[in-house]
């Protein structure tokens, strides 16, 4: 064992309780579990399935777009494909991805808790998520929805003949899951912190999940009510947004984006938290400006609610409102920039190594920066009017969602995989996958910025022939990306089967989750840990990195116990 150096680490000299994986192997013991770690894995399984479904839809679309004419699928099918892709990816992959998997698994351990505050509610929220996902999938299998993931009125209420009501019901149910999870995490952080774990000693991953939970709780109900209103209009013929009866379809967009803009931060904030953990660990540096990072996280969570109107510059919203929302949108860039600068300053002078999770995290920083900067273009009304509903928008939000959030998810998955499974994966394969993902992503989405600026509109299944070269590039990039996503399945499976035992703390990271066994016991800690120092206790800003110590530690790592099998 190599981790005895950390304060609060229980001595593992005596016999440990069995790991959470050994606490029962029947299907029942998994489906009725209240262990936050097992629930995290249940979520990991379900979001992987949803990711595959959403990914297949994307693959079909990119194949269709290889030629200018619409020859593979009909226009109507194409509409249903991008709706499926959006609905599944947004609500059943991106929103739950980091909070419910890594958040569920790591957050209680990172604050030294035995479990989340309401373990049964935690399990319920998984079932709600599955129920919502099933409803949405049934809607999509019966024939699909053609409104786009945004369900804009009056098309969704007056005209669409597709399964809008069922899909909306699915998203509505999944919303309860989001609220339950958010509520649970907030109360957990408030009440379950171990002795000495003060608010300003919380790892930034915990802060980011906490801030995300606040958004989940305050934004999701707006989505729920606006979907309920759509169902009310479709099923009961209420005149809530119907222009023929004096209704205002733009009002729908206001309430919808009151949720859906903050939802962007639901997706990206947890990623920012993961990346902070990884960057500090693999540069062996204390995070630069911890307090500024905390306030930036909270600032993003709060100001994220003030900018929704920038999705509506061309909707018919008043010029005055557009002006206000444009100004506020520029303001939100400030805390995001603080984070990027602080990550850079953290890396500066660090003892950087390029493990796979570090590659993903560095990729995140670059791609998020590009996504964020193009966001500034879009916050400016005149530029936005020019590129609205073009591939520029598509590229912009994929840089944030896929380049940022999915990279961060993989960074976290690789970082905590040894903790979750107790085994290492092939570092070489993992690094190759990380690089491939970065390359594939840029080849896919960078051409879309150019396409959008040239004027190619989104959501069309055919396009003028002069756009073909760039579209071919994009589709080719999507193939690379698909390969990069397939690789982890292979080496993670190999790791489960015959991976090297990881030991308690293979990365020599700080953080309480590393101060217990891998995989951890059901109770997480043999005895409640006590915290007496700030997080990221690597080396302080003025000190030299302790290279020789590092080297010695690494040799020690090779003396890990052999795989007993």
């Amino acid at each position: 064992m190599t981790d005895a150096a950390h304060p609060g680490t229980p001595d593992h000299g005596y016999s440990l309780p069995p790991s959470y994986l050994g606490a029962g192997t029947t299907l029942r013991s998994w489906l009725l579990t209240t262990d936050h770690k097992r629930i995290g894995l249940l979520y990991l399984a379900s979001i992987t399935v949803f990711f595959l479904i959403g990914g297949i839809a994307a693959a079909v679309m990119r194949t269709e777009l290889m030629t200018p004419t619409g020859d593979l699928v009909s226009a109507d099918t194409y509409n249903r494909l991008f709706t499926l892709h959006g609905v599944i990816m947004v609500w059943f992959f991106l929103i739950p991805a980091v909070p419910t998997t890594l958040g569920n698994f790591i957050l209680p351990m990172a604050i030294g808790a035995r479990d989340v505050a309401f373990p049964r509610l935690n399990l319920l929220s998984w079932y709600l998520n599955i129920a919502g996902g099933t409803l949405a999938l049934v809607a999509l299998l019966l024939g699909g929805v053609d409104t786009g993931w945004t369900f804009y009125t009056p098309y969704s209420t007056l005209y669409s003949n597709s399964y809008v009501t069922l899909a909306a019901a699915g998203v509505f149910v999944a919303g309860f899951s989001s609220i339950a999870t958010g509520l649970n995490f907030i109360v957990t952080v408030h009440t379950q912190r171990t002795k000495g774990m003060t608010w300003m000693r919380l790892p930034l991953f915990v802060w980011s999940i906490y801030a995300t939970s606040i958004i989940l709780v305050l934004a999701t109900p707006a989505l729920a009510i606006v979907l309920a209103m759509i169902v009310g209009e479709r099923v009961f013929d209420l005149g809530l947004f119907d222009p023929t009866r004096g209704g205002d379809p733009i009002l729908f967009q206001h309430i919808f984006w009151f949720y859906s803009h903050p939802a962007v931060y639901i997706m990206i904030l947890p990623g920012m938290g993961v990346v902070t953990e990884v960057l500090t660990c693999f540069s062996r540096r204390k995070v630069f400006g911890y307090e500024a990072m905390v306030f930036a996280i909270l600032g993003i969570a709060i100001f994220g609610f003030f900018v929704w109107g920038h999705h509506m510059f061309v909707s018919g919203q008043s010029t005055f409102a557009s002006l206000i929302f444009s100004l506020l949108s520029f303001v939100i860039a400030v805390p995001s920039a603080i984070k990027v600068f602080n990550w850079s300053a953290t890396l500066y002078g660090g003892h950087i190594t390029f493990e796979a999770s570090m590659l993903y995290a560095l990729g995140f920083v670059g791609l998020f920066t590009m996504g964020g900067l193009t966001g500034l273009f879009l916050a400016s009304v005149p530029v936005d009017v020019h590129v609205t509903d073009t591939y520029f928008i598509v590229a912009h939000f994929h840089y944030i969602m896929v380049g940022g959030m999915v990279s961060a998810f993989f960074a976290g998955l690789h970082f905590w995989w040894p903790k979750i499974t107790g085994r290492m994966y092939s570092e070489g394969f993992a690094r190759a996958a990380a690089l491939l993902m970065f390359v594939g992503f840029n080849v896919t989405f960078f051409p879309q910025f150019i396409l959008g600026f040239m004027g190619m509109p989104r959501r069309y299944w055919s396009y003028p022939p002069e756009f073909q070269i760039l579209n071919l590039m994009s589709s080719f990039g999507a193939m690379i990306l698909a390969l990069a996503y397939a690789l982890p399945f292979v080496y993670f499976a190999l790791s489960l089967w015959r991976g090297r035992m990881a030991g308690d703390n293979p990365w020599r990271a700080t953080g309480l989750e590393w101060a217990t066994a891998s995989p951890p016991p059901r109770e997480n800690f043999a005895e409640p840990p006590v915290v007496d120092s700030a997080p990221y206790d690597y080396h302080p800003a003025h000190a030299e990195p302790t290279e020789r110590e590092d080297a010695r530690d690494r040799e020690d790592q090779d003396d890990r116990p052999e795989d007993p099998r």
Binding site: H190, L218, A222, D248, I250, L251, H254, I255, F258, F305, F306, W308, G309, M312, G316, Q317, S318, T319, F320, A321, I324, F325
Partner: protein
């Protein structure tokens, strides 16, 4: 909290608040029939806010609650206000676009 409260005191306390709430209800109905024009809505909303404050403070025990709880309640209200105010920033200014702006669209 006292060691052993007489049950009658609990019922009396609730009854007292109930009387205040009922008076407020009567006032708001009477107010709806007064000839005060545009002041009807502010009056009705003020009385509703008063009733809500009574329920929240005494029945829901918000005054004696922990800081986190009070912040949660406050944030709920603030977010409601945020949704209303920024939506109204649009809905009340639709007609005020400059002439050139609307002419171009027609």
């Amino acid at each position: 909290m006292t060691e052993k409260t007489h049950p009658g005191r609990l019922w009396r306390k609730a009854a007292l608040v109930w009387v205040a709430l009922s008076l407020a209800l009567a006032a708001t109905v009477v107010g709806a029939y007064l000839d005060i024009g545009a002041w009807k809505l502010p009056l009705a909303m003020a009385i509703a806010a008063f009733k809500a404050a009574l329920v929240a403070a005494i029945f829901m025990e918000l005054t004696g609650a922990g800081a986190g709880t009070r912040i949660a309640a406050l944030v709920g209200l603030l977010w409601l206000a945020l949704m209303l105010s920024l939506t109204f920033a649009d809905e009340t200014t639709r007609a005020q676009s400059s002439d050139g702006f609307t002419q171009g669209a027609e």
